[in-house]
Symmetry: C2
Subunit: 183 residues, 2 copies
DNA sequence: ACCTGAACACCGTTCAAGT
DNA sequence: ACCTGAACACCGTTCAAGT
């Protein structure tokens, strides 16, 4: 990539992170271009769709998700608490920007989506945690990581749209945790 | 209301029901006005916001929800099956139009929303079913109807956005059902 | 090869003019 | 009192002209 193109690309990503944080992931792309100091055409040259831009933004979120999953896998706390904490962290991470949970929900399990690879990271992180419980014989047998991503994603979407408090999220997650454990 | 106004109101509601069914609840209002044979200003005179229009449309859905709740309350089938079937019906009803689940999720528990009264109908229907289980001692104690509306609503939103099959919805609901029953 | 910004399209919303 | 439809605003998207 040419030096000036690389510079513009970086400026757009920085501006998008700021605008998405302030106004949510459905914010006008125009505002991002303006803040980055480039024309709208330049934004479109680098990111053909809004989702391509989102993909670049959430890239940096994934390491934190993986770290949280690792912590859950290695934790020696009771299974229930481990799961509850992991889900709470998961929701918090994908809810960093308003409108974000909905983007993940739409892309989850859809290989055609520009952010599909990020959804795969989420799914694999969940899979690691679930496998740890499965080995311990604590998990119900008819459930897979994709399904769990969707269940927890649903909580995140609703919490995002209705602007729920953490305590509301926690009790909703509690129901799902209990539904996943035992028998 | 003047006779011509009433006629236009009715035409708009009929047209909206058709357009929402075909194109979802985020369809252009302009298309509804055109199909109803009225100007855009007339639509705005009768329905100040999109949600006011949605409120008029979903009004006719509520009787079906109530009927399903009554059937669940009076059913003599095992609790698990009763809950599972009730939730499946609930999701199907609020998912009749694409984009619908998200509207309910946003309005649920928000008295300022134009469709709040319809959300209350949903909540009370859920409350009736849950009380039946509570009396039987089958329900966990720390959960209320609003929370359940949100949990099931989350499933509906995700299913709607990812265009999930009924079988996928059923297994997600199964986890929640198990999480709600016993202890 | 990349950038700019004018231009177009689409759609929500308002309001002056009409009945 | 109600309706019409032109007009405006906003925003996504493209593309001819420039470097």
């Amino acid at each position: 990539m040419r030096a000036d193109a690389q510079r513009n690309y970086d400026k757009i990503v920085v501006a998008a992170a700021e605008v998405f944080t302030q106004r949510g992931m459905d914010a006008p792309l125009d505002e991002i271009a303006t803040r980055a100091g480039v024309g709208p055409g330049t934004l479109y040259r680098h990111f053909a769709t809004r989702e391509d831009l989102i993909d670049a933004i959430v890239k940096s979120w994934m390491a934190q998700i993986d770290a949280a999953a690792t912590e859950a896998v290695e934790s020696e706390a009771p299974t229930r608490e481990v799961l509850q904490k992991w889900f709470a962290t998961y929701v918090a991470r994908i809810s960093r920007n308003r409108g974000g949970p909905s983007k993940f929900a739409t892309a989850m399990g859809n290989p055609a989506s520009p952010i599909y690879s990020k959804c795969e990271v989420l799914r694999l992180a969940n899979d690691r945690v679930l496998n740890r419980l499965r080995d311990a014989g604590a998990l119900r047998s008819d459930v897979n990581a994709l399904e769990v991503c969707r269940l927890i994603g649903g909580v995140a979407v609703v919490a995002d749209q209705a602007e729920l408090a953490d305590s509301d999220i926690a009790s909703m997650l509690g129901v799902i945790v209990d539904g996943l454990l035992q028998n």
